[in-house]
């Protein structure tokens, strides 16, 4: 089965839109963080689709997968910092809703 690379870009856009929707709509901070991860993985998929687009038979393009491995590392760090802050926030407020973090006026 041969999936055209363009379809991967469409899938990536759909995943990204889902992530944005989740980020804007959901009030639970952990779900918000998961939506951010979804957006990151949409970008990862776009990198892989690009890599596939630039590969030729017998000469794979290795830059795309390399970038993705880096982004996975970055996403892990992001999740670590984000979850650490959620734990700190929960200890202070006893809640994981974004509305509970609204004391400052921005």
């Amino acid at each position: 089965m041969n999936v055209p690379s363009e379809h991967l870009f469409f899938l990536s856009s759909a995943l990204f839109a889902l992530g944005v929707l989740g980020f804007l709509v959901r009030r639970n901070v952990i779900v918000t963080l998961m939506s951010i991860e979804l957006m990151l993985n949409a970008a990862n998929l776009a990198f892989l689709a690009g890599s596939r687009l630039h590969s030729a038979p017998g000469r794979p393009d290795l830059q795309g997968p390399l970038f993705v491995i880096f982004v996975i590392t970055v996403a892990a760090v992001e999740a670590a910092v984000g979850l650490a802050l959620i734990i700190a926030l929960y200890r202070l407020k006893q809640s994981v809703e974004t509305d509970s973090a609204s004391e400052m006026k921005g």
């Binding site: 870009f9 990204f16 980020f23 901070v29 918000t32 951010i36 957006m39 990151l40 949409a42 970008a43 776009a46 990198f47 689709a49 690009g50 687009l53 630039h54 000469r59 393009d61 290795l62 830059q63 795309g64 390399l66 970038f67 880096f70 982004v71 970055v74 760090v77 992001e78 910092v81 984000g82 650490a84 802050l85 959620i86 700190a88 926030l89 202070l92 407020k93 973090a101 004391e103 400052m104 921005g106």
Partner: protein, 510 residues
Amino acid sequence: MLDLVPLFIAIPLGAAFLCLLLKPLGERVAAAVTVAGVAGLLALALGAAFAGSEGAVLAGGWGAAVAGQPRYVVGIALVLDGLSRLFLLVVAVVAAAVVVFGLRYLSGYTGRTLYHALLNLVLAGMTGAVLAGDLFTLFVFVEIASFASYALVAYGTGKAEVEAAFKYVLLGSVASIAILLGVAVVYGAAGYLNMADVALAVRAGKVGPAVTYFAAAMFLCGFGMKAAMMPFHAWLPDAHPSAPAPISAVLSGLLIKTTGIYALVRVFYGVFAVDVRVQQVLLVLGCVSMGCGVLLALGQDDLKRLLAYHSVSQMGFVFVGLGTGSSLGILAALFHAANHALFKSALFLSSGSLERIAGTRLLSQMGGLAGRAPATALGLVGASLSISGIPPFNGFWSKLLILIALFQGGFAVAGVVAAASALLTLASFVKVQRKALFGVLPERLAQARDVPASMSAPVLVLSFLCLGTVGLWPLGLGGIVERAAAAVVASPGQPPPLDHYVQLVHGRRP
């Protein structure tokens, strides 16, 4: 000199890990490591800036050039050119002042080893972002600096700090993802991310206008959020005041410039050569940032929050300068960004001193402190005069250049907004002086004492640099700023920027 380029990143990165490794030896060791690292960084940056050295290195490259495929080598491309030199110098100078100030300021905090490690990580991310020679490396270093700064905002671990840091993480992550998506789209269209190659592909029409505009929009949102451009500024007035004063100085003085302004200039003018439509967006958003930022600052009673809103406003000046697209406008914008780094870090450090002296950040509870704390007052007055644009301080010259560039380019409305914002900035800082330094000394503060010399000296040095810019300009500083602008925009008497950049990276003309 070229062999030393990786040291700009290796020194702070190594210092960060050394701080943690040597934790059992005590907090003084971490402080000593940080001081040594920053001293090395300052020496390197001064050497690079005044010697005018430039070139490109591929750190840790592997893979071979495949026939028919341009430069198929994977590694970390680092490029030192005029623009990088200016920002490295600014980072090193401000970081040195901040580290010295922090030694005494943080004596009341716990976990100072972590503070030093994270501060070094922020520095490594910033120097890396400034030296990055491809878009993905730029993204990774921007992320390193951002993650460390999220943790530093929460350093106080109080309710306000954690809440501000949490907002900062959410908005900062969305900004990073926007940047990453822009990078992914450019990679999908071009097949490589080396800035010189992408710039050539854009000029040759290999990367179409649809991709360029989409990527430019993503980079504008992403780097604009990192640079606190309105309407993406919401995190800054919470995050910057919540951090300890030295960290506020790094965030407001350096981080928004290296991960925001520098990246935007490099990508928009160095790589994409954006057209007038994108420049108009920069102009409009810059005007909004300038005007609204200073209006919001006028009503603030919390000194650090007031300074944070002024950061939004001053970044607006930089954006309108960039939006002119002329060589004078970009030169003025870069000069103002460098000046802002000096006086805003001096202001945030003074706010830390005042908080220590008066026990509060609220201006309404201060007063008459000039008599009790003369050294702190002198530093604060110098930096305030500079941000208000009073001659002969550096803020005056850069704002004047921005105004000239705006009126020369025919952007009269933006020029009027800039002039009005400059006046309101002056009004706001007159208020700060009157409420904090002069007027009636509250009885509560009758026994207030000035901070030790190790805290007032860095502020005084920064303020003196703000004043001394006029004298330093003919002694080499002018050349550094001029060559920084010439690195991204065609300037009289300088080589064409892209030809020069490509020659640096590939060692030949395109």
